[in-house]
Symmetry: D2
Subunit: 352 residues, 4 copies
């Protein structure tokens, strides 16, 4: 249903947020639960091959959740399964597992984009170009400093993503389960241990969503600037594999930059749902059930924006002659541009 | 990638906004174009079986659009295909065809929900219940009037959806194609004819998105009120097939109402992207390419909210005794409630 | 508290959505209510000078509404005042009165912008410029056709604004008041008569918000395109009173276009709150109380975007030589551009 | 123009984000700049009494910024003033100064709300109530644990707010100013020193906006739960100074909870604009100029939500008898509720 997802999102990330991945994550949570509660359940029971997620979703309409039928199916096969958990424990924990595996893919894309931005900053430390404010030529700057600005944005977004807590959830039907058990459950899965259950206090989701928005904004900024610098009349950069056109051979579209921008908009729209809150009492009646597609989409498009920004930057052709020409008459004084590039590179290397 | 879509969206609507449906719509647009330009192209060329949408999307990254490789493939098979169109002509027109077929499915769900609300309004014209403001008991009203309020909301949302223009697009690379050709193209497809090309003036998309938001809001309102009236302590309605719980047999979750609310949130998030505008000059470099997943999601979840509201209302069990009990002490004067119900039913019947 | 409102919003519109204007509108609603209920109340009681809106707001915190203390003050002066209304009747009706007076101011700005766009379309019917897709030069078009695109967007947004229903509200505490009374009340105020009270069914608010978003999008589109065409390297238009800079005399900022864009973003953010719905039962416990600042802001910034677009267009300097230069090599064939301009002008004149 | 701001926002916070406060902050930035550049400027020049912010805004339309005329006025009085800064340096720095002073007021409200939540958690550690999922009674919990959930949400939001960087800005027209100067400038004002200028890389603004959203969400959650627990049929809590109604003496509206929810929605709407990004090249042409009203509104309403949540919690009347009655039949086993309360209190005390 996500239209043209292969256009936006790299295949591994599409896989990582697929229904199959969510099913696998739910079963991983159930398996960890069985382990920490000492339930003796055959491992085969937790293999995703034994379940049909579409059927679980359709059956799950009666409970507004695919976990209720999944837990039923599990218990039929192994009475000790699912233990004292409530369906939200499994689903929230699965969401964090999905987010974790998506995060590692996203970080790889972000790192690629950052490395490319750092290389551009370094290589063009002294490449003079026009600084542009309100899209008017203002004073001279360097392309290295523009790339350094992208780099700092990417590095800071990375930090927010890395810092986002991914806590397990195990509170039981009223959130009153023993925190010791929750602690062992979290530890078994390598997730964080929350202070108290967060069934209806969605701080962790909002924090993650904020980090995804930051990522989208940083990558979308790269895309926007590349689009503007690649304009026909500006012509200061172009994308290596910019799409041509059989009927218009003079055109060379900055397609990756365009996709980075498109993905950033889609991240923002989906993240916005995740930061709204308004979850009722001990488990929400609608706001929670709206999160799953929005979270997957925010993860996927954030990764898509990073992948597109990376493609754009890795193949970026810089045209110093056009930069010089466009900066003519603005003077030569680029101030402390080189020192600022060094600061950005130093900040980047702290985190490399 | 849309997590758990089978939980939210009826199967025919999932189909109607699927990548396969988009591909079919693009080919339908191409076929109509061939016809009105007099290109002699074998009909087989326009059969979706001949194309792989995932491959087109992956190939399309170089152009930030799946249509560019599709048009290339078409022209390889039939040199006269694609004619004077630009890729956005095909994709915008396809979006309108997708929206049209989704709309007819959505209207059926909305009509079901409206019929159920009308029946409740009629049956409970005199069923006294507490009016509640700020969730405090205020003055008596009737359940018929509450249902009449839902009904008017549904009917007005339906009207907005029906009124939303679905124009064809055929402007060519710079939007300068002969409007006569665009007129024949629109007519061939049964779409509206725009005044001028709307490649970067997205009024039609925003208008449609607004109608989908209105639908989500009307259906979400039903869901919210059902959730509140079904609360354990209120107990004035319950859903026929409300999910039980093996461990908590006293629970009966208003699952359809919950899903109607969840879908409404998802509509709002996606529609919000579609009403933002900011499309650059003659074709946008990012904002346009962000629309496709948001439009499909908004259509699907709007339909999902209507389907869920319909299920909730069609099977709604009303408990007049609890209503009477909860209204005790508020007096008996329900004012003009019955006359207001009649007004709502009359409004509904105008549009039936 | 609205930072720098005098930067964005013309003085009359600031006045029209001020707290004083809301107070006046509430009193106008109360006066009309007294009239249709036959209460004999001295007209002086309804003069805004007798009330302090800041004090009413502070006192109103105990009721989450400034109308409760206002109604109390009214009844102290004239026991027959406020009649059978509930506080939401007065406030919703006042909102519609505020919207109506803001609308007439907004329409004047929109009409000015449309007239300027029409004049540009007419004058530059044959002024060749580069069509730009993804900000790359594509094929030739005319500046007249670009202006015609703006014009159609403005005309269609105007239509949505004019079409937005502005219904009175008079339902009493549980929404059960006699619709005959509501009808006379609406008629007295020159507002529309709703089918049933809309205390918690916010279709009218959402519809109005959608129209304001459309207006912001149409005006923001003008702003965006002017900014892009005014870029130093493009140089095809400039604003007559574009801000210079003492230190950078070569700069000429398209300040009005920039403000049109800024206002459009602010409209979108505020309108988004108004289209969310989720109003509980017969009067919402939070969602309703959030509407007032968002509605005023959406009205003010929509008007601000129109005023800024108008200033930008009315003083726009068009540079056909640069257009010709930038279009060099793209050929001369502007297709049906002139005919499309005529279609846009015809559409505009229908509504003039 | 912010309708009814005295209803939502405490007077000191209204003051802290007023136009007068922004003017004062801009002049404080200018004074610090004069100091670090060694310009000899009479201190009187930086007194806000000498300037009229409304006039500066109206004059500033020509530059889409009130700082340009302010800098002009300053330089007329003292040629050495404004130094090498660009207008955005002053305005971004002023925004951070405004945010800092608003933050200290917000933290006081948040701390009051947290203390009240902690006291409730402690006092009601063993007060049994029904846990409610999907607004259906599920299993027993304690009111202490519900309050502990609020507490953790408030504490975590506080942390995000405290952690939000507030960097100074001093990059000059093209962002190339000496970072040493920027460092001294930041130090003079007690603001953070950024790695590189962030004129168009709005990470700091987005981070702050995210913290404000988190605050709104945490306070809005308190409001939502209080509204639900105060429902007539539930009756488990009531607000001390809940608004009565002359015509309906049985009503007692949870007015502060309602306002906390309303403010939270308004925070979300405004914050959403601030997390979007899309700032062009070295200074944006619209996206930046849209930030000021959104930032002030987000600050004010975030503080308003905290103040309202605080009032609600500080005066909250808890009705253990109703809690016991509503929980009848659910059993007595509240699991580890008391231990979880302790964990929440420990987390709170870390930060007290």
């Amino acid at each position: 249903m996500t239209t043209f997802e292969a256009l936006y999102v790299p295949a591994p990330l599409r896989e990582a947020v697929s229904d199959q991945a969510w099913l696998t994550a739910m079963l991983e949570a159930e398996a960890a639960l069985a382990k920490v509660t000492g339930a003796e359940v055959d491992e085969d029971v937790f293999q995703p091959e034994g379940y049909d997620i579409v059927a679980l979703c359709e059956e799950g309409r009666a409970d507004a959740s695919p976990v209720v039928p999944l837990a039923r199916a599990l218990r039929e096969r192994a009475p000790g399964a699912h233990g004292p958990a409530t369906s939200q424990d499994i689903l929230d924990t699965a969401a964090m597992l999905v987010a974790r595996s998506a995060r590692s893919l996203m970080l790889a894309e972000l790192d690629g984009a950052s490395a490319a931005a750092a290389a551009l900053a370094e290589a063009h430390r002294s490449t003079v170009m026009a600084g542009r404010t309100l899209l008017q030529r203002a004073r001279p700057t360097t392309f290295g400093l523009r790339a350094a600005g992208w780099l700092v944005g990417l590095v800071e977004a990375r930090q927010r993503l890395v810092d986002a807590r991914l806590p397990a959830q195990l509170g039981g039907p009223a959130g009153t389960l023993d925190p010791e058990l929750a602690s062992r459950f979290a530890s078994e899965l390598g997730l964080e241990e929350p202070v108290v259950p967060w069934h209806a206090d969605r701080g962790p989701i909002a924090e993650l969503a904020g980090a995804l928005e930051a990522m989208g904004a940083a990558c979308g900024k790269v895309g926007l600037d590349v689009v503007l610098l690649a304009e026909s009349e500006v012509g200061e950069v172009s994308e290596a594999d910019g799409g041509g056109s059989s009927s218009m051979p003079h055109k060379q579209n900055p397609a990756s930059a365009v996709l980075a921008r498109a993905c950033a908009r889609l991240v923002h729209a989906n993240a916005s749902l995740l930061t709204r809150g308004e979850h009722e009492l001990d488990r929400a009646a609608g706001p929670w059930q709206a999160e799953w597609p929005a979270l997957s989409a925010a993860l996927a498009f954030a990764g898509g924006s990073a992948a597109a920004a990376r493609r754009s930057l890795e193949g970026l052709r810089v045209h110093p002659d056009r930069m010089a020409e466009n900066a003519r008459g603005l003077g030569e004084d680029v101030g402390a541009a080189a020192a600022l590039v060094d600061r950005a590179l130093a900040r980047y290397r702290e985190h490399e």
